[in-house]
């Protein structure tokens, strides 16, 4: 079954490249997403066995990440149908600089989306650190053309920064993998497998200095991809310049995959007794990310960059939750799910706003409530969700993390955490509420498009976040607990 | 031993201008010409010595003293450099530092004389020469340090006896290369400076001595020949392995090595063009870096 999870998107990508007509291609995209989601859901009922000789192996942690990715991809693909339909073919004028530009061919866009899904599936479905690295590198290469869909200067600049910074980061992660191999090097054995289970069995012979060096390299390397400050420089540029559904996938799914890489290495640290070392580092990076995000969110003038910095903040919260440990890890897993859903919803909604107002400035895009009422409602709801206000799911997760922090006695960390959350709440509310209220600017013409494709997916995602805030189904609690258990115990 | 050193020094003083003839002959061979007579440098020096000197009124005693000082310093430095075992008579720990400083003294005298003329051309040449030497000197020092580190002795007698490079460590291959680049830089050879150019804007060494004439110029030219001999001797001493066949045979071998070095300089001058001025510091920085790497690796062993 795991093989099919990889093969379906890959085959659909090849098919999408081959087909010339637009509508069948979009249909293939949605169908592939649906098939992927159903297989993922099926895996809950029928746990799949390892494939390729232990290379692909779905454990509860990976399954959680896979489900989130799959769900987000379905929402993005449904949104993509409406988005691609509304895109103007051929050359047009860039609204910010006035230069003429065109879009990348839609075939390449769809194919890259599906290859992107394949790579993320590989990351989630494997417990072999080498294959995980290959998957993360694959996501970088597959998403670069996605960012460069609108072919103008700014997106090219964003793509180049993304490509170079993430490639260097992933090279560092590869160095970390090699250092890990050195740490577990056993001259008597034939080969040093990078499989988590094999490494767990050899936990006794691990050399601590090499392990520490390896964790630092992997944390920095995958941290670049995850968007932990101070390695987050590519994030605001890439997320603001790419098409909204791509931003949704980048923020909601890709950052999680990088986090999974860090988590797998953290598992190894737990198994070899270095848990306090890795947790300390995670807390430090988490706090730095939250503070940096807070600093850049206040006074932010570009609403897509606002959402990007919010992603930096939430990645910081995730790192913090694993760093604090104990009950916070459950909160972190719940936070992962809720953040992905809410952030994807916000990005998709921002795409609708961008399509009408043709500006990314919070000051110029006003009166959304009058032009697009449903979008405005979703925008406000999404904002409330992402800053952690009840009744949305992020409130529950953030409270859980806070409770665990206080229970463990990390009052300084808890104070910093609360302060950043507070600053971000105020900082985000100003532009969002300003955008929703007020009269429409006279310069904005054109009709707002609020059909099923543009409003349906964000509505569904928002409903899910709301549900998770009000009521956690037993099955979900069990999945989250199992995933948290994997992180805490190491296996 | 003292007599041996004196005789060697006298032979050096006699043979040094021949290096220029060798270089000229090699360049001529490459160009298909016959080239100057082998005794031409001696005739030039004799001609200059017979002439009278004209001194500008803006110059002071510095200008008159400089050629003498530079020649004396170079001869003193030559006395310290061994030409084949058992080394030169005045040999002590750390004598290589004295050699480098004596060369610096010689250079300083000529630079001061150039500045003393008050002319902008000489000043330009002086500043270039000073700048390039400031980059070449660290490279020379680093090479000496490498030789010191690999032979564990700090006097030139041992450092330049050819035993340094006999340990066949691969990084020591960088030492002759760096020494050669320093040789080209300090003696104003292509690719650092063209000794035959007449374009004042591109000269470095020649423009510095533009105002000297007569015996002063003879001293400076002779000093240049001795300086070239000195650097070739350092290079040969570092590279040639000791044969232990007796002092005279070793000396003859060292002299042959020095002339081979000069021939190599001639070859380099014939096949390369001069580097653009901003590139020269890069070349010297490259030489410094190579020497630094070789030193680090030698110390690491």
């Amino acid at each position: 079954m795991l093989t099919f999870l990889l093969l379906i998107p890959l085959a659909s990508a090849a098919l999408a490249l081959a087909i010339a007509a637009d509508t069948p291609r979009r249909l293939i995209l949605v169908l592939a997403a649906l098939a992927h989601l159903s297989l993922t859901a099926l895996a809950f009922a029928v746990p799949p066995g390892p494939a390729f000789g232990g290379l692909l192996d779905l454990d509860p942690l990976g399954h959680l990440f896979l489900s989130v990715t799959s769900l987000l991809f379905l929402a993005a693909s449904v949104y993509a149908v409406g988005y691609l339909r509304a895109e103007v073919k051929g050359q047009r004028r860039d609204f910010q600089e006035g230069a003429a530009f065109s879009n990348a061919p839609e075939r390449i866009f769809t194919a890259c989306l599906l290859v992107f899904l394949t790579a993320m599936t590989l990351v989630a479905c494997t417990r072999n650190l080498g294959a995980l690295w290959v998957g993360v590198e694959g996501t970088t290469l597959a998403s670069a053309p996605l960012i460069y869909f609108h072919r103008h200067r700014r997106s090219l600049e964003a793509t180049w920064k993304y490509l170079l910074i993430c490639s260097v980061g992933i090279a560092l992660a590869l160095l970390g993998n090699i250092l890990l191999s050195v740490a577990f090097y056993d001259p008597a054995q034939a080969s040093t497998s990078m499989n988590l289970a094999d490494l767990a069995a050899k936990a006794g012979i691990a050399r601590t200095p090499w392990l520490k060096a390896a964790f630092i390299c992997i944390l920095v390397g995958y941290g670049v991809k995850m968007g932990l400050a101070p390695m987050h420089n590519w994030l605001p540029d890439a997320h603001s310049q790419s098409p909204s559904l791509v931003s949704a996938l980048l923020s909601g799914a890709l950052l999680n995959c990088a986090f999974l890489g860090i988590l797998r290495t953290h598992q190894i640290c737990v198994l070899t007794g270095l848990a306090s070392f890795s947790q300390e580092l995670l807390v430090i990076f988490g706090l730095i990310s939250m503070v940096t995000a807070a600093a850049f969110i206040v006074g932010q003038g570009d609403y897509k960059r606002l959402l990007a910095y919010s992603s930096v903040e939430h990645m910081g919260i995730l790192a913090l939750s694993v760093g604090v440990g104990g009950g916070a890890v459950f909160g972190g897993m719940l936070h992962l799910v809720c953040h992905s859903l809410a952030k994807a919803m916000l990005f998709l909604v921002s795409g609708n706003i961008l399509a009408l107002y043709r500006t990314r400035s919070c000051y110029d895009a006003r009166g959304v409530a009058r032009a697009m009422p449903v979008t405005a409602a979703l925008w406000t709801a999404g904002f409330l969700a992402i800053v952690g206000s009840p009744p949305f799911g992020l409130f529950v997760s953030e409270l859980t993390i806070l409770a665990a922090m206080i229970r463990q006695g990390d009052t300084a960390v808890a104070c910093a955490y609360l302060a950043c959350l507070g600053i971000i709440f105020v900082g985000m509310s100003v532009p969002v509420l300003r955008m929703v209220q007020g009269p429409m600017p006279p310069a904005v013409t054109g009709k707002a498009r609020e059909d099923f494709f543009s409003v349906g997916p964000p509505l569904a995602l928002g409903a899910l976040v709301l549900t998770l805030g009000l009521f956690l189904p037993e099955a979900l609690i069990q999945t989250l607990t199992q995933a948290a258990g994997v992180v805490i115990r190491g296996l | 031993m003292a007599a041996l050193s004196v005789i060697r020094l006298l032979a050096t003083l006699a043979l040094a201008p021949l290096l220029f003839s060798v270089i000229n002959r090699v360049k001529a061979a490459f160009a298909g010409r016959q080239g100057k007579r082998l005794s031409q440098p001696y005739r030039d020096l004799a001609k200059l010595a017979r002439k009278g000197a004209v001194y500008s009124q803006t110059t002071t005693w510095v200008f008159r003293a400089a050629p003498v000082v530079s020649l004396a310093a170079i001869v003193a430095a030559l006395a310290l450099v061994p030409l084949g075992p058992p080394g030169s008579a005045p040999s002590f720990t750390g004598d290589f530092i004295l050699v480098v400083y004596l060369l610096a003294l010689a250079r300083c005298a000529v630079v001061l004389a150039a500045l003393d003329t008050g002319s902008s051309f000489e000043g330009m040449g002086a500043s270039r020469e000073a700048a390039f030497s400031a980059l070449a000197e660290p490279a020379l020092f680093l090479c000496f340090l490498i030789l010191d580190a690999s032979t564990h002795r700090s006097n030139l007698g041992v450092m330049l006896s050819g035993t340094a490079l006999s340990s066949a460590a691969p990084e020591l291959a960088l030492v002759p290369i760096t020494l050669f680049i320093v040789l080209l830089a300090e003696n104003a050879r292509i690719p650092v400076d063209d000794p035959n150019t007449h374009l004042e804007l591109t000269m470095i060494h020649e423009v510095m001595i533009l105002d000297h004439c007569g015996p002063d110029l003879a001293f400076i030219q002779y000093g240049a020949a001795l300086k070239l001999w000195l650097f070739c001797a350092i290079l040969t001493g570092a590279v040639l392995p000791p044969l232990g066949r007796g002092p005279w045979l070793d000396f003859a071998l060292a002299v042959a090595g020095i002339f081979a070095c000069a021939a190599l300089v001639g070859v380099v001058e014939s096949v390369m063009a001069r580097l653009r001025l901003p590139r020269v510091p890069k070349l010297l920085a490259l030489a410094c870096s190579c020497a630094a790497i070789a030193l680090i690796l030698t110390l690491w062993r």
Partner: protein
């Protein structure tokens, strides 16, 4: 002189190529230097020479093909298409970069003394050479404004990481190394396309012109 004794000169040649990479400013020369580095690297997994497994020879051949032939071909093709080798002044010039590279060499030698290396795993000079190559690559990526030079820096960093992993590949799975090679290859391919687009859009590959996106 045995074949095994050739390893140290190989490592020293590698360190010298790093120095040359830091000092050179012409892109064509940089491409040839990285090809030379790839060729030198292809021989690294062969040491120590005793009982060579067959798959290792295959790995070396693959490394040589990709690093010494394919990458320079891709890069020079991109260079030819953009048809420019203009002087783009780097943030950190040749001399300071060389000094930084030598600092990296010192740091890696110091680190080798500090970390308890498993005996017999790393041949002498392999650890410092690999770490110096990684540093060189990172310095090139950070301090150069020419987009093609940044790609070459990325390749140099990958070379260093490969050298690090070479002694482990004696034991381990070769297909993982091959997949890493393939990933890097596709990465450079994508970067080449991006550079072509940059040249078309910005009329230069000077990354210093990227100044529109900021807060």
């Amino acid at each position: 002189m045995t074949v095994a004794a050739l390893f140290e000169p190989l490592m020293i040649a590698l360190i010298l190529t790093n120095l040359a990479l830091l000092v050179t400013s012409r892109t064509g020369v940089l491409i040839r230097l990285i090809a030379l580095q790839g060729a030198l690297l292809a021989f690294a997994p062969l040491f120590p020479v005793a009982n060579l497994p067959a798959h290792l020879a295959l790995l070396c051949l693959a490394v040589f093909t990709i690093k010494a032939v394919a990458f320079p071909y891709l890069l020079s093709r991109t260079l030819r298409r953009i048809d420019a080798d203009s002087r783009i002044e780097p943030y950190l010039g040749g001399g300071l970069s060389a000094a930084a590279g030598i600092g990296g060499l010192l740091f890696s030698l110091w680190l080798e003394n500090r970390l308890p290396v498993p005996p017999g795993l790393f041949a002498p000079l392999l650890f410092p050479a690999a770490l110096t190559t990684i540093f060189t690559g990172l310095i090139l990526v950070v301090t150069r404004k020419n987009a093609l030079t940044q790609v070459i820096g990325y390749l140099a960093a990958e070379n260093g990481i490969f050298l690090f992993g070479a002694p482990l590949s004696r034991q381990g799975s070769v297909w993982l190394e091959l997949s890493i090679l393939l990933d890097v290859f596709v990465g450079v391919f994508v970067m080449g396309i991006a550079i072509h687009h940059i040249n078309k859009t910005f009329e230069s590959i000077d990354v210093g012109r990227f100044c529109t996106l900021r807060d």
